[in-house]
């Protein structure tokens, strides 16, 4: 019977063990090897398509795609906290802005090269996230969201007021970028490369034991703690990592805009990656990236034909949150799963 005290294990090549061992623990349902291969192939194709953009698109369109890529990183980094960690931080713009301003201010005051600033920015972002996290993570849920919002506004207001150091409302602009990155194609490839590598790292993190522990904390904080997980420490690490990658996204903003301005740090900016995650889908890794694309491209499309972008975005948010909480990618994934199931029944 099932309660054998000697401990029966499934035979080494049972279908159960095989299926489970071919994938690492994931948020998505189990899939056999062929589907995993198809999925990676699809992603590789996507990257290839993106790599070909400079030769096919106009200069403005290319800049838009570049911007979307940067925002995709911002959104996915935020989603590490929101979707995977269950921590709704309304203050990630603080680190986004800190990333941008690190490069800009180092250039402005100490004539530091862009590359040095580029390395420094994520470090500064992580450090800031450590400080904020130590304070903010002592609270939960609503108060955490409000606290992070307050931090975002605090940084915004400081940057705005300290005109002498930060340039105030005008921000910092000028020849921040090295000559290599002034070329639009170079800037694009650089952005793409940084984003792809960063997203790969983020993805690895979500698939790792750390990522799984983070999700367990999201699902049931007390239980995780009772099983021996130091919840505060894990959440703090997630917060620091998110801050690091958000700051990195901020550097990509500088590559795109060749400037930094205080609005990057305001609470309204903090909302943007959250909404991208919601629209694209919070529980799938690339959901926020899709959300970023929809946001950027949608904004252009809507603005071209009718000026009420905010209205359209607001309605879209409402519809998704109320009727399709799994987001667009979630809907697509559900549709694809349904198609796959039909395909498999047809093949038999």
């Amino acid at each position: 019977m099932m309660l054998s005290t000697t401990g029966s294990t499934a035979p080494p090549d049972s279908p159960l063990l095989d299926e489970v061992r071919s994938t690492s623990a994931a948020t998505e349902p189990r899939r056999p090897r062929t589907r995993v291969a198809v999925r990676f192939g699809g992603l590789a194709a996507l990257v290839a398509v993106l790599a070909l953009m400079p030769s096919t698109l106009s200069a403005t369109s290319l800049l838009n795609v570049q911007s979307a890529i940067g925002l995709a990183l911002f959104a996915c980094a935020t989603n590490l906290l929101v979707g995977y960690g269950g921590l709704v931080s309304f203050g990630q713009a603080a680190f986004y802005g800190i990333g941008a301003y690190t490069i800009a201010l180092m250039w402005l005051h100490w004539q530091t090269s862009f590359w040095v600033g580029f390395i420094a920015a994520p470090v500064v972002g992580a450090a800031a996230a450590l400080l904020v996290g130590l304070v903010a993570l002592r609270t939960r849920r609503l108060y955490f969201a409000l606290l992070t919002l307050a931090f975002s506004q605090l940084f915004y207001v400081i940057v705005l007021q300290q005109t002498g150091f930060t340039g105030g409302a005008n921000g910092v602009f000028g020849a921040i970028l090295p000559s290599f990155l002034v070329d639009p194609n170079h800037a694009y490839y650089f952005t793409l490369a940084v984003a792809v590598l960063a997203l790969l790292a983020l993805w690895k993190i979500t698939r790792s034991p750390f990522g799984m522990t983070l999700r367990a904390i999201r699902e049931n904080r007390e239980r995780a703690e009772a099983l021996g997980v130091n919840v505060f420490a894990h959440q703090l690490m997630a917060f620091v990592l998110a801050g690091l990658f958000c700051a990195l996204a901020g550097t990509l903003f500088v590559v795109h805009d060749q400037s930094a301005n205080p609005d990057l740090l305001a609470w309204t900016e903090s909302g943007i990656p959250i909404f991208m995650s919601v629209i694209g889908g919070m529980y799938l890794f690339l959901g926020p990236a899709l959300g970023a694309l929809i946001y950027e491209q949608g904004r252009d499309v809507v603005l071209a034909s009718f000026s009420d972008w905010q209205l359209a975005f607001g309605v879209m948010l409402l519809v998704i949150v109320l009727f399709a909480p799994q987001g667009v990618l979630g809907l697509l994934a559900g549709g694809r799963d349904a198609v796959w199931r039909r395909w498999r029944t047809l093949r038999r």
């Binding site: 993190i205 790792s208 239980r223 009772a226």
Partner: protein
């Protein structure tokens, strides 16, 4: 009792404002035994367990576990020392599969929850499946916890606690809300595992058949302190205990 007690509680007290929920409790649990804590509702059983696991801090008294003082330690640290609780209300990770849930417990135990490389998953998977098979949930390893039946969720709940390889397992009303069939299954599971793994079990229960059926020793709590302790037979025939139960349930 032979040898030194695994869990030794002295003069434990917890006040909430002016109200003493626990008022001077002494308890000793011998290793390898099954020890039950019973008492009418409001006797303080839940508070008592919360003090042991570190969710609450006592206002006085000490808790010694394995010879070391664990009074006031945070819950995750208490678990690390080998004292794990399984909860009264099924307390699982709803959207994670049974397999993932057990993996979390194993990873935490091995201090691998900080690992950012995913390769370690492979090793842990085997151990997790083995454990699930032992408790009879092997077939549901890839099912999300929230889709399991109530009885299976309770078993998973206990399995999670077991995965931390505790020396002492705290069970808070393990058979609450279960059918007779499920109750038997749970009882068999607990006693078999306890014997097989030389596990010490401290449980609180309302089901008297379970208590007197499997316990080596019983402690009776009433209004925050101990009114009787001893073997099941001794406690069953204790006048004070009978009074308290009859008086409360009349």
């Amino acid at each position: 009792m032979n040898g030194q007690a695994l869990l030794e509680i002295r003069e434990l007290g917890k006040r909430f404002g002016g109200f003493a929920a626990i008022d001077g409790v002494d308890l000793a649990v011998a290793p390898g035994t099954i020890h039950s804590v019973i008492g009418p509702n409001g006797a303080g059983k839940t508070t008592f367990f919360r003090l042991l696991t570190g969710i609450l801090r006592p206002t006085r008294g000490t808790i010694m576990f394995g010879g070391r003082d664990i009074t006031g330690l945070r819950p995750y640290a208490v678990t690390r020392r080998g004292l794990t609780q399984s909860f009264q209300i099924t307390n699982v990770f709803p959207r994670m599969t049974a397999l993932e849930s057990v993996q979390i417990a194993i990873l935490a135990r091995r201090k691998r929850s900080w690992d950012f490389a995913s390769l370690y998953q492979r090793k842990v998977t085997g151990e997790a499946i083995e454990l699930l098979d032992q408790v009879g949930l092997g077939a549901q390893a890839t099912a999300e916890a929230r889709t399991l039946s109530h009885g299976d969720q309770r078993i998973l709940e206990v399995t999670l606690a077991l995965a931390t390889q505790p020396r002492l397992l705290l069970l808070d009303e393990p058979t609450a809300g279960m059918s007779p069939f499920e109750t038997d299954r749970m009882v068999e599971l607990v006693t078999n595992l306890a014997r097989a793994r030389h596990l010490t079990v401290l449980l609180s229960e309302h089901d008297m058949d379970v208590v007197f059926g499997i316990s080596d020793e019983v402690t009776v709590l009433h209004q925050g302190h101990v009114i009787a302790r001893g073997s099941p037979d001794e406690v069953q025939s204790d006048d004070h205990v009978i009074d308290v139960y009859l008086g409360v349930e009349a």
